[in-house]
Amino acid sequence: MQKQLANGVKLYMTPTKKFKTITLTCDLLAEADFNNFAKRYILAELLETNNSKYKTQSALAKQLSKMYGASFGTNVIRYGNLHILRIILSFPNANYLPGKPNNVGEAIEFMMNVLLKPNIKNEAFDNKTFNIQKQNILKYLSSIGDDKQYYAALKSKELFFGDDLNRGKIIFGDLNQYNDLTSKETFEYYQNSIKNDNIIFSIIGDFDTSDVFNQFKNYRFSDRNDSLSLRPYKQLNSDIKKLTEIQAVNQGKLNLGYSVPINYNDSKVYAVIIFNAIFGGTPQSKLFKVVREKFSLAYYASSSFNAINGLISVQSGIKSNDKDKVIDLINKQLEEIKNGNFSVELLEHIQHELINARLNLLDSPRKMLEQQFINNLLGRKSTFEDWKEKILAVQREDIMNVAKLVNLKSIFFLEGKKLND
């Protein structure tokens, strides 16, 4: 059920008795602009830490405990050219709590305090909070390389997107963007976001829709431009970009970026979804069966497909001196699919598995909300049945044909070398 609270501000309600919790999200949408990455991330952290109602982190945490351990957080997410700041709050259905408190109203109020009443002093975010969060972000960014798998994925993305910083750069921004960032500037950015960002509220669980809608109407939002939309990414014709970084680690991380000129709004996208599952997306895939099981070269070797960016990324952890062998082997698997070296049975199993995975989303309130959110972004009205039909309609030839459009564009390698201590 969809309601409009103002132009560009919407409320989606999904009443269901299936879950024992109620989940409420607020998404602020803006065009991804690398120059704003640091501001948007620190804003998310500040909104999560405290606000004018709960002035300290401790007061806010205590309130969440009072709400029976409500789980609350903010984060920043990117879908192609869109940059989303998400606030999420999930709490138990009152029917299962002592005294059955009316906690939906309390939760909406909590969410609105987070969004609309930040901890502001003199036209700036509270300085103490700002400085602590800034320091924590700087520490986090400087230690991001400690998780090698994550680090390799970030570097690979950067390499693939090259000059398109808005899509390629780490979403938390660069360290140096924080140096001169002030609490005043961040407050200005906040005000601008509240005024101009598209806002989507979503709620799922067992609640009364008219009560919830009435409560939302108590908060005034100004009309704003509702013109934000996703833009597919078109990879330029270019040579393969290569980057190798050497570190004192045991395992080499090999991350490849392949482009495919097919996006979410293309009818061939279903063939690419299945191509990816056959290539490296499942334990039945070529990468799992060949790189891992047949040649024992890796513990993990898999691929994933991003339909907004037309990007198929491959990640694997290997012995450093196996690098060339593994790249050849991965490319060979692509050739195999182009040449139709996969069975109809495999195709059918994968179709079945993908359909089941889609149904499984409906068993989790968060995944259901996420799916709805994406569908709305994509302007897709398709139901599960439509989606299923399209997946089942994909033929072997369709997969071979899209495989022919898949091109290797980037190779990032984190090479492990034993350095002298």
Binding site: S58, Y68, Y140, S296, L297, H352, N356, D363
Partner: protein, 424 residues
């Protein structure tokens, strides 16, 4: 079949022990699409010395064998169990912990077929020399991956400092050297001993008819013959030592610190104590505690800070860890909070009530996830205490009891510290 009803939460749990000793626990959830099943054996990395089935003398097998066995269960003579699940559109996986190995699948249809696949592949071992050798490369890369992961290094490193003379002193997966010694014969020895139905439990949660599922399971089991159940004889030493302060170097950019608290092992598991200590740690260190906020505001801890309590038959420990710029202060502050805990608890009456509310709510939230339910149905060792039972234990918890827990659990002589510093 025993049926426990939890009317407050509209839940029903069914228990059955089959003739061959296999314990079956079923939780029907009719609104869900998915069904999730785990078949587990009480066999993990700490059981590497034991008296084999039918023998009288103990053997010691290479470290990492339980995990190795888990990998090899899927790989049959002319097929892979993964593929059988995939053919029905199900997905499958497995994991090994210090004390348990679990095989699992999740499906939305073909439940009967998947139950048969699960029981059959776990109950029909097939190990050969060449298959064992082939796996060493894959697990070798798994071990390398963990060796580069600071969180894993910190966790296993700190546990090994609490238990230097106990089989917790090696990672679950073993080492590249130890797994190199594993043979097909070793795998059979371990399998025959620990994979007896009487040492295993099948949990199924999700969309199902309990009667049908029981019939399918019985039919499957009645077609197989099993050896008589022999009691499991683990040879598990009593740990006497700790290594108090440790430091290591790694390719990281920030200091990482952990504090381990080694508990006294109890012969009989006591779920109340387990929950009591967990609540105690929540009360002292959760985000709503004054301690957390003081240390956070002073920059001693940050969002990476976290803690856990692991409570098993042969061991139990608490672990608190995080990144910090000042490892010495981190250690001193946390230790001082721990050591003064029992005397400070009296002032925390209102915090305690909040923590109880929080735990209650989180247990209710867990009921949304069929995986969480399946993983919290209890076992023989804890008398099948499940997450629904835990709620009433939490409700009855008192601050006075937490004080007892603090006195029993925290002891200056049982605390270790471990620091990972960046390589210069």
């Amino acid at each position: 079949m025993i049926n426990k009803k939890y009317d407050n939460y509209n839940e029903n749990i069914y228990y059955e022990t089959l003739d061959n000793g296999l314990k079956v626990v079923l939780v029907p959830k009719k609104d869900f699409h998915k069904t999730y099943a785990t078949l587990s054996t009480n066999y993990g990395s700490i059981s590497n010395k034991f008296i084999p089935y039918g023998k009288t003398e103990p053997v010691e097998l290479p470290a990492g064998i339980a995990h190795f066995l888990e990998h090899k269960m899927f790989d049959k003579k002319d097929y892979d169990a993964f593929d059988l699940f995939s053919k029905t559109g199900a997905s499958s996986n497995a994991f090994t912990s210090f004390t348990k190995t679990s095989y699992l699948f999740s499906c939305v249809d073909s439940l009967k077929e998947n139950i048969n696949i699960l029981l059959d592949f776990v109950q029909q071992p097939y190990f050969t020399k060449s298959k064992v050798e082939k796996e060493k490369g894959i697990i070798g890369q798994e071990i390398s991956m963990y060796d580069d992961d600071p969180d894993a290094v910190m966790f296993f490193g700190t546990v090994s400092k609490m238990y230097p003379d106990f089989p917790l002193n090696v990672d679950i997966a073993g080492t590249v050297e130890s797994i190199d010694n594993i043979t097909a014969k070793d795998l059979y020895t371990a399998y025959d001993t620990f994979y007896q139905p009487g040492n295993m439990q099948l949990n199924i949660v999700g969309n199902m008819s309990v009667e049908d599922v029981m019939t399918w399971i019985n039919n499957n089991q009645n077609h197989k013959s099993f050896n008589d159940y022999h009691e499991i004889n683990n040879v598990i030493p009593t740990s006497q030592k700790i290594i108090v302060n440790s430091k290591q170097n790694m390719n990281v950019s920030r200091n990482k610190v952990a504090i381990g608290i080694k508990g006294t092992p109890s012969k009989q598991l006591d779920v109340k104590y387990e929950i009591g200590v967990s609540l105690l740690l929540e009360l002292l260190f959760s985000e709503s505690s004054n301690n957390y906020n003081k240390l956070y505001d002073e920059g001693i801890i940050d969002d990476t800070f976290g803690f856990t309590f692991e409570y098993e038959k042969y061991y139990n420990f608490g672990l608190l860890a995080g990144d910090t710029d000042d490892p010495d202060r981190f250690i001193n502050e946390i230790k001082s909070i721990l050591l003064n805990a029992s005397s400070k608890l009296d002032n925390l009456e209102s915090d305690f009530e909040l923590i109880k509310k929080e735990e209650l709510g989180q247990h209710i939230s867990m009921m949304n996830s069929i995986e969480a339910i399946a993983n919290n149905l209890g076992n023989k060792a804890n008398n099948y205490t499940n997450l629904y039972d835990e709620i009433s234990i939490i409700n009855d918890m008192t601050l006075e009891y937490l004080k007892e827990c603090a006195k029993k659990f925290i002891n200056e002589n049982n605390i270790v510290t471990n620091i990972i510093t960046p390589k210069k």
